[in-house]
Amino acid sequence: MDTPVLLVVLPLLTAFSLGIIKTFSKKLVKAVTVISATVHLALIISVVREAMQSPIVYHLGDWDNLLGISLVIDSFSAMMALLVGVLSYGVIIYSLVYVDFHELKYYVLSFLLIAGVMGMSLTGDLFNLYVFFEIVSITSYALVAIKEEEASFEGAFKYLVMGMLSGTFVLLAIILTYQVTGALNFAQVAANFGDAPMLVRQTIFVFFLIGFGTKFCLVPLHAWLPDVYCGAPASFNALSSGIVIKASLYAFIRIVFLLFGMTAGIGQILIYWGVITFLVAHTLAYQQESLKRLLGYSSIAQIGYILLAIGLGTESGIIAGSYHIFNDGLMKATLFLGVGIFSYAVGASKIDDLRGLGFSMPKISFAFVIATLAIIGLPPFNGFISKWLILQAAWETEYIVAAFFIPVGSLLSLAYYLKVIKALYSRPEREIEVKPIDWKLRVPTYVLSAACLVMGIIPGLSLALIENIPKFLLDSSNYINLLLGR
């Protein structure tokens, strides 16, 4: 069956056919968007179910696996694919009402973005990864600027310059890797990489860290993110925080495990850098007035937790880290979609603007509060489970300092999220007029926030999906054999 490749090709095809469809009938655009997104989600679910039985390797164009490009769907890719599928479907439904500016361009760019993120999570080829990485970047720049406000142009330009720098470093790392291994296929690269001189290997690691680190907001390379989020539409923020940043992080984790293995040195860099990242981001988030900036800093903080967990390099650490990638996707998407609804209904953009909305929009506020409690890490929500797993994994490997700072980080985030919750449920100074909110805005938010609760009460649901991730990450020979078909 050719379903794996359809996961990338279908959104790509939709993106380019939307323009043609619009010349025939303007009404068809939205219908085609919804149909394509639904089919895409169904395909993803079927592929993920298949990949859970046994990992899938798909050779594009039936080329030999050493010559052509392969798509590899092991547990980690399958988890990313599922996250991309769920979030992008929710956001597309949400956008049907939320987006009233440059509609056609918005959908074309969104589908290209989804295709790129999907490609990044599935590909088994280093240069192919770079191409998808750039597709994601370019569509992101354009989506940030799409509202044509002053903040969005400024954010987009900043994003573009940082993105170009990060792309250059990734490209440099890739060409150096090709030079020392003579291959671009992940399996061959991983097999030959050990022979390279130490200095070259370290250089390549640093270039990958700077390149992808700029994109997944490693402190101090994070400065672009809050400015970018301010000017972008909320639906893009949800996609960006949920899957775009995570895709870069995914690519980095995959490359580190394949090329270098999680040695003690690299592990320690990632662990302490992760701790610094979330402490700095939490502290900066506390000072923010603007909701989107606050959530942006909170996104950076979650990246810190994931890096810490992955850097531990143990089975439980990897499971905790990848579970947090999945959970943070759900929570952040809920929060940003909620903020989008608040700004759509009453034009709220600052924390103070939320005053009293808890009474005039009780259901949306409730869904929003569930996601905030989850991201702080309170039981019984999913954020608690993954943070607890990270804490446990850090404790087991005797990184006591790192383990100590995880609850400290949660306390800091409690401090600033309480400001938001307090504003929501304090009496307004005057009557608030609320625009009626369409079900297309409400339902994705409800579903995602319900998912936060369900994942917290029954963690077994998604843990079944990710329990095999360490098998392919920790022992890269498993991945190499899978890709080479041995």
Binding site: F127, E134, A142, A145, F153, M164, L171, I175, Y178
Partner: protein, 114 residues
Amino acid sequence: MEQTFLAIAVLFGLGLYIILTHQNLIKIAMGIGVMESAIILLFIILSYRPGGTAPILDADAQAYDLIVDPIPQALSLTAIVIGAGTTALMLALIIKIYNRYNTLYIDEIKKLKG
């Protein structure tokens, strides 16, 4: 050979320097272009074999015993296309910014915003 690598390093450094120090948006765009060209030159230099021919197979393919590595060349074409796309987007953004603020200097844009 060493001079070429030195030239590439200088080009890359120049590009980075322009991006980090200049205030003019167009110059930042040019700096990015210079940096990208340095990378693409690196691609070509790394695949170069002195005296090698183009890697095209034909009937008497045996005649070639030294060919240049074709993969980096193919990759550099892709990199050029990506670079062109990003540069176009960046220039479009600069036009939009200029139309709004009537200036290309970052300082003045910040001042206008207050």
